[in-house]
Symmetry: C2
Subunit: 204 residues, 2 copies
């Protein structure tokens, strides 16, 4: 199955600014993207990066600088099943993605924390995406309106996307690959001295 | 299987103070507890509430006012498998709990966001808990030290515990039962006008 991985290459991950400068955030986003591509490839499927600017990866890329919703909808509508997996799912593993890809349903979705839609499998040409707002609820409605089944996977690894400093806790607790190594190299560690897990960056 | 549900009845959920007063927080915690008990019973297992003060539920209770770790460890150590499921897992469903209870492993854990351990199945008498700090990492280590297997379930429904106002978003998006009704009655709704899902309480 073709697996589209949207990637915003232009000033990504701005909410991590308290921890990383613009170049670092770009490096970090790229580390996550590459880990996601590896995880997708390990499931035996074919990732392609949908990006708004050229990006150095070892898989095919599609350049499209329109907003996310428009760019993804342009990839949908064909007869073959297709998946959309966000590039910042740093906890995604081959096992969690395999579970997603193998779930039955016209549309299978991985809800993100806070109402996003972190991943989709689309097996019907009529379905369209709308990533604005609480998109998981919108996607449920869109499927309902066109009369196709909508199934949600219960996965923490696919629910966590990395946007804010507090999300880095999850990578330090459960992550691996380039993303984890990148954080380790920058001296980002877990601090549990006050009884709750927080992230600290020893460099700053 | 016996399923211990620890419940802190004394001033629960203080981090929800921006939304609810003390009486409301107690009501809300009780609604979540009862939903969790129902979900556990639906799996065919036997819940018992481990609480620091008398609580009005339809299942057996054990009164123990020691700290969580001590009170839970007092329940472990027997020959029969036992589970520990936190009372604030408002998204837990019979399906997610069944998946947890049926997973193989000497110790099976549901990691909570931020490093907690939201649920455990313990099939070995030597295992003990330690809920302080990033307990999921500590529990991994404890299992490793005594040479038993430690398996983690990948479940968003078991990863989300309800502590802060932002957690309420998940109930409004994915919850049901008494907890959801309680929020609806208090006028707590989702606001997505700025493109992200936030919770607002129309009463205040």
């Amino acid at each position: 199955m073709r697996v589209v991985v949207p990637f915003g290459g232009d000033s990504p991950k701005t909410r991590l600014a308290p921890f990383f400068d613009a170049d670092e955030r770009r490096d970090f986003a790229l580390a996550m993207l590459r880990d996601v591509l590896d995880a997708v490839e390990s499931t035996g499927n074919d990732p392609v990066v949908l990006t708004d600017r050229p990006v150095d990866v070892h898989v095919p890329t599609i350049l499209d600088d329109r907003p996310l919703t428009d760019a993804v909808n342009d990839q949908l509508g064909g007869d073959d099943p297709i998946a959309v997996v966000m590039a910042d799912l740093a906890l995604a593993t081959p096992a969690s993605l395999t579970r997603l890809f193998e779930m039955e349903g016209d549309v299978v979705a991985a809800p993100g924390l806070g109402g996003g839609t972190n991943a989709l499998v689309v097996r019907t040409p009529e379905f369209v995406v709308d990533y604005h707002g609480a998109s998981i609820a919108d996607h449920r409605e869109i499927a309902d309106d066109i009369g196709v089944s909508f199934v949600e996977i219960d996965s923490m690894r696919l629910a966590v996307d990395i946007d804010e400093p507090s999300d880095l806790v999850e990578i330090l607790l459960h992550g691996r690959g380039r993303t984890r190594e990148w954080l380790d190299e920058l001296g980002v560690t877990l601090d549990t001295t006050d009884g709750r897990a927080e992230v600290v960056c020893h460099r700053r």
